[in-house]
Symmetry: C2
Subunit: 299 residues, 2 copies
C-alpha cells in the first residue's frame, strides 16, 4: 500500500491548495473527479483515467472502472488519503483524469466538435432526428447546434461555476461559453459542485474578451445582458430570438460595461420593492443564473 | 490592546468550530455578525450589540455603531483576530449580538409580533395602507399578514439557509417558517451568506414537525410541496390561492413523505429531458428555492 510520499500519487497532492493545483493541473493536463458518481460521469463522457486513489471500501462499487487500470489503481487507508489530499475525503475515491483539448467557441456554437459534424438546422440525409446520433459520429451529445447558451464573464469562484453548470444542464441550457479569465469548470471544486454537469454540457473559452460577443452575434445569437438594474426589461418579458445567449457577470461587479453596452439588450430579474428599501436587493450569481436558465427554457 | 486569551473576547472564540459555536450561542443567546454591512443591518433590525471585535482600519467607518459601546469595543491586530476566530477575517469586523425571542409561527403567519398588531386583512381605522406603519406600531416590517411564505424542512447546511433567506427577501417572499430541526438562520455562516437578509424577513420555528402543516392550513395557506418528481404539476402552472406556503425539503432527501403527502399539492420545476437522460437531473436546494421564489412572486 503506497504512502503519502509515493511519487505515483503526485496528481493528488494538496487538493486544498488552489494555487498549487492550478499550476499542477495546467502543467500535466489533468483534473480530479471526486466520488463514485462524478468519476463515473467523467468516464462516461470519455475522459481517459490517469489513475484512481481510493480506500478499500470503494473498490467493489468501482470495480468496473478500475478494471484494466492495473498499477494505476492506488488503494490507501483513510488517513493516508487525508494526508495526501489535505482534507478528509468523505466520498472515498479520487480519480485523476486527462483533460481533452477544448473545442473552439465557434465549434460549440455550431454544435460541431473535433471530428463531429452537427446535425444543426438541416440534419444529414438519412439521419433520423431524435433517433440517436448518426453512425459516423462519435457519441458526443452536442451534435445539434444549441439555441440557448450561457456566457460567463470572469466568475472567480469555482463553486459558483460548478453550480451554474448544474443549473444549466438540469434546465436544458445547451452550451456554455467562458470569458478568457473565467474560473475553470474542471477544477476539483467546480466538478464536485456541478455533480458532473461540467461533463454533460459542451463549453468553450473565448480567447479574446474585448470582442468576445462578436462570435455570438456572427453565429446569430441574440445577446441578453443580465443586470441588477431594475430599469432593464424583465427577462420574462423580453422578446426572444431563435438563438439566445444570456450573459452573466462576475460575483462582485457583475458584467463589464463593455459587454453590458455591447449586448443587444439588458435584462433583469425583478426584485421586491420592499427588499430594495431594506438594501437586500440582489441575488447571488447562482440564484440569478438558476432563475435565468429557467426563464430561458420556458420560452 | 487585548490578546486572544482575554476573557472579554470569549464570544468570538473558535468561529470555525460549528459544535462549539452551537453550544456557546445557545447558552449565551448570542450570534455573530461579520463585516460592516451585515453589522449595520443587524443593528438597524434592532438587535442589541454585546460587543464588537475589529481591526484598527474599521474603527472609522463603524464609528457611529461603536459610539456608546465604551469598553465593549475591542480593537486588535489582524493576527490576533485570526487567532481568536480561527480563520482570516477578511471583513475586519465582528459583532456579538443578542438574540431576541423568536415570534411564534402563528404570530409570523398573522403578521403580529411581540407588541405589534398587524394591519392584516382589515387595517385599523385611519391607518392608510401603504403609507407606512400606524403610529402606535413599532417599526417592524412584518406588520402586514404575509401572503407568500417559504417553509424549510430540516435543511442542514447553514450556507444554504442563508442563501435561501437572501433569495426570499430579494424576491419578496414575506416570511419563512422553519421545521424544528432546520439549521439556524442566525448562525454566523447563515448570516454572512444571507448578506443580512435573515434580519429583514420575519421567521419562526415550529415546535412540532409531525403536525407542522396544520398551523399553515389553519391560517388559510395553500401548501405546495416542491418535489423533483416530474409527474407533479409545474410550479408555474399550479393555480395559486391568496395565501401560499411553499415547502422545501432538505439537501439530500428532499421533503419527508409526511409533509409531501399532507401538502395540498406537489409541484415541480420542469427539468430538461436531455438532463434526465444524463443523470444531471436535479437542482441544488438554493437554485430550486430561487426559481420557486421567483415563481411565487410572479403570480
Amino acid at each position: 500500500m503506497p504512502d503519502a510520499s509515493d511519487p505515483r500519487l503526485a496528481d493528488y497532492t494538496g487538493l486544498r491548495d488552489v494555487e498549487l493545483r492550478k499550476s499542477l493541473e495546467a502543467e500535466h493536463g489533468l483534473f480530479i473527479a471526486e466520488g463514485e458518481k462524478v468519476i463515473r460521469r467523467a468516464v462516461s463522457a470519455g475522459y481517459p483515467v490517469r489513475s484512481v486513489l481510493l480506500t478499500r471500501r470503494w473498490t467493489a462499487s468501482l470495480a468496473d472502472v478500475l478494471d484494466g487500470l492495473g498499477d494505476r489503481v492506488h488503494v490507501v487507508d483513510d488517513d493516508v488519503m487525508e494526508e495526501i489530499a489535505g482534507f478528509p475525503v468523505h466520498r472515498g475515491a479520487l480519480a485523476s483524469m486527462e483533460r481533452r483539448p477544448l473545442p473552439t467557441v465557434t465549434e460549440v456554437l455550431n454544435g460541431t466538435r473535433a471530428g463531429v459534424t452537427a446535425a444543426g438546422g438541416s440534419p444529414p440525409e438519412g439521419a433520423a432526428a431524435g433517433a440517436g446520433a448518426p453512425e459516423e459520429a462519435a457519441p458526443e451529445r452536442d451534435a445539434v447546434a444549441p439555441r440557448r447558451v450561457l456566457v460567463l464573464e470572469d466568475l472567480v469562484d469555482h463553486g459558483n461555476v460548478g453550480a451554474i453548470f448544474r443549473c444549466a444542464a438540469a434546465l436544458g441550457v445547451e452550451a456554455v461559453v467562458l470569458s478568457p479569465r473565467c474560473a475553470d469548470p474542471l477544477y476539483r471544486r467546480s466538478v464536485k459542485v456541478s455533480m458532473g454537469a461540467v461533463f454533460a454540457i459542451p463549453y468553450a473559452r473565448m480567447d479574446n474578451w474585448y470582442d468576445g460577443l462578436a462570435g455570438l452575434r456572427a453565429a446569430g445569437f441574440q445577446t441578453l445582458a443580465l443586470t441588477p438594474d431594475q430599469s432593464a426589461t424583465p427577462l420574462d418579458e423580453v422578446p426572444m430570438a431563435h438563438r439566445v445567449a444570456l450573459l452573466l457577470g462576475s460575483e462582485g461587479d457583475g458584467l463589464s460595461s463593455r459587454w453590458l453596452h455591447e449586448a443587444d439588450e439588458p435584462v433583469c430579474i425583478p426584485m421586491s420593492p420592499a427588499a430594495m428599501d431594506l438594501g437586500v436587493d440582489s441575488l447571488n450569481v447562482v440564484a440569478a443564473a438558476a432563475i435565468a436558465c429557467h426563464g430561458l427554457m420556458r420560452r
